[in-house]
Amino acid sequence: MRGIQLSLNQTQRLRLQTALELLETLSSKASLNASVTVADTIPVNYEDGVLKGHGTTELDGEVVATVCGVVERVNKLVYVRALRARYKPEIGDIIVGRVIEVAPKRWRLEINFIQDAVLMLSSMTLPDGIQRRRTAVDELNMRSIFEENDVVCAEVRGFQHDGSLHLQARSQKYGKLERGQLLTIPPYLVKRRKQHFHHLEEYGVDLIIGCNGFIWVGEHVEAKDDMVVDDQVNKSEQHSSKSKSWTSLEEQEQAYTHAETRQNICRIANAVRVLSTLGFNVTLDVIMETVYLSSSSNVEIHEMLGAEFCVLVAESEAERRSSSAKRKG
C-alpha cells in the first residue's frame, strides 16, 4: 500500500481495511471500470472520428493508453487522466512554489512541473505598488523581494513559445509566504476550485491550496500593503539612527508568532499530511473536518500522524462519503 507504513495492530488493520473496502464500494462502478494502465486498448464504439487526447496513442487503428489512469470521454474526445504524475499547469491556476534561482530579471521557481517556472520581474507588482518600467535598480534589488528558498504564491500566466511556463503575481494577495509550513502532496489530490486562498478565522491561519500540490499553512496576514509601511520605516531609519532600535523592537513583535497559532498551524498541516498519506482528496471541507475530528477526540498534534488517528480519519471519510451518497440517491 502506497505511503502507509504505519505499525497498525490487528484491530486497527481490520478497521482500516473495512473503511477502505467501504470506500471502494462507494466509488462509482463506472469510474473503476474506466481505469486503464499503460498499453491497454481503450474501447471506442464509433469507429472513426474519435479525437485522441492526452495519454493516448494510436496503434493499428486502436486507441491505446500511454499512462495509467482513468479514461474520460467528452463528446468525441477520448483522453486518459493520469493520476500520479507531475503537475500539469493551466492558465490562471494558483500555485505555490519555491524560489531556486535569482536570474537576470526573473526568478526560477520549483513548482513540481517538468521544468522550472519563470516569474519575471516585470510581471509582478513591486512593493511600492506603482505601475512603472522596471529599472536597473529594481533588477539589482531583486533579492530584497524574493531570495533563494523563499516560498512564493503566484498565478500561472501562460506558456512561452518554447514551452517554458511563466507566472505572474500582480496582486497583493500573491507574493512571499512567511511564518508557516509548506506541504507537498501529489497534485492529483487537489481539485481546481474558485477559491484557493482560505482564511480560517477561528485559528488565525491562512491556508493556500496550490493547484500544483504545494499547500501553504501559515499565520494569517492582512492583505494590506505592509510592504509600503516597511518602506516608510526604512526611510525613517535612514534619517535617524534613534528610531532604529524602536523599529527592531517592533519588527520583533511583528515577527513573533504566538504559540497557539503555531499549534494551529501544526494541527492543520498534520491533517493535510494524514489525508495525503491515505490518498484522499484534499479540500478545505475535508481538512477542516479532520482538524475538528482531531481536536474533538483530544488527539495531540504529534499523535495525528500515528496509526490510530489515520484509521479514525479513514473511517470518518468512509462515513462522510456514504452519507453524501445517500443524500444524492
Binding site: L32, V38, N281
Partner: protein, 241 residues
C-alpha cells in the same frame, strides 16, 4: 555437473520451463515521483524515478525530447561474497547503459522536451537475472511516475544447460558458464527491444531459447499489468470525487 536431474527437476525445485515467484510493490520510495520493488524469487530490485524535471546540466538539454538517465548499482550486501567493488565499474556502467537504452525506447520522450528523467535502480539481493529484474522494476516505477510510454517493457532470461532450455536462471545456474539469453520485449507491440547473450548457441537451439524467454516476458507482463491496474483502481477509489 547436473543442473536438471533425471526427473526433470532443477536445483531449486523448479521444472525447466517454470519461472520463479514474482512479487511487485509500487510506491516504496516516498520522495520519488515513481518507485517500485520487483522480486523474482530471491532477486530483489528497487527502482526510483525522478522527473520529468529541469535538466541539471544545461549543456545536456535536448530541445525536442527528454533526457533519460539511468544509474544502476549493486551494493556489496546484495551478493553472497562481500567483495568491495568500486562504484562505476564496467559491469554496472554497462547495465546502466542497457537499462537506459531499453527504457528510452519505450518512453514517449518527445512529449517532455527540455526535461530530464532519472532512473535509479539498486539491487537489494542478487540471485541471477538482476538485469531482467531491473528492467521490470524500472518499467513499474516509470508507470507509477505517470510518464507516458509506448508500451510496458518486460524482461526475462533463459539459458541452456544439460541440453535443456531453462527459463529464468538463478545465480547457481547462471554461474555454470552456459549460455544465458536475456530478452526484453514490448508485449503489446510484440517487438524485441533487448537481446543479450553470453557464450554461444547453435542457431536452432537459440531460437528455442529466445522463444522460451519471450514467453517468460509475457508472463511477467501479465503480472505487471495486474499490479498496475490494481494500483490505479486503488488510487482512484481512495481519492473519491
Amino acid at each position: 555437473m547436473e543442473y536438471v536431474n533425471p526427473e526433470g527437476i532443477r536445483e531449486d525445485g523448479r521444472r525447466p520451463l517454470e519461472m520463479r515467484h514474482l512479487h511487485a510493490e509500487i510506491g516504496t520510495v516516498a520522495r520519488a515521483d515513481g518507485s517500485a520493488v520487483f522480486e523474482m524469487g530471491n532477486t530483489k530490485v528497487i527502482a526510483a524515478v525522478y522527473g520529468p524535471r529541469e535538466v541539471q546540466n544545461r549543456s545536456q538539454q535536448l530541445n525536442d525530447q527528454a533526457l533519460v538517465r539511468c544509474e544502476y548499482s549493486m551494493p556489496n550486501f546484495s551478493t553472497g561474497d562481500r567483495m568491495r567493488k568500486p562504484k562505476g565499474d564496467r559491469r554496472s556502467t554497462e547495465i546502466s547503459l542497457v537499462i537506459r537504452q531499453t527504457m528510452e525506447a519505450c518512453i514517449l520522450t518527445h512529449l517532455m522536451p527540455r526535461s530530464q528523467i532519472d532512473i535509479f535502480v539498486q539491487v537489494l539481493s542478487a540471485d541471477g537475472g538482476t538485469r531482467s529484474a531491473c528492467i521490470n522494476a524500472a518499467t513499474l516505477a516509470l508507470a507509477d511516475a505517470g510518464i507516458p510510454m509506448r508500451d510496458l517493457v518486460t524482461s526475462c532470461s533463459a539459458g541452456y544447460l544439460n541440453s535443456t532450455p531453462l527459463l529464468d536462471l538463478s545465480y547457481f545456474e547462471d554461474s555454470a558458464g552456459g549460455p544465458d539469453v536475456t530478452v526484453g520485449i514490448l508485449p503489446k507491440l510484440d517487438k524485441v527491444t533487448l537481446l543479450q547473450m553470453d557464450a554461444r548457441l547453435p542457431i536452432d537451439i537459440f531460437e528455442n531459447v529466445v522463444q522460451l524467454a519471450t514467453e517468460g516476458c509475457k508472463a511477467v507482463a501479465n503480472y505487471i499489468h495486474e499490479v498496475l491496474l490494481e494500483n490505479t483502481k486503488q488510487l482512484e477509489y481512495r481519492r473519491g470525487l
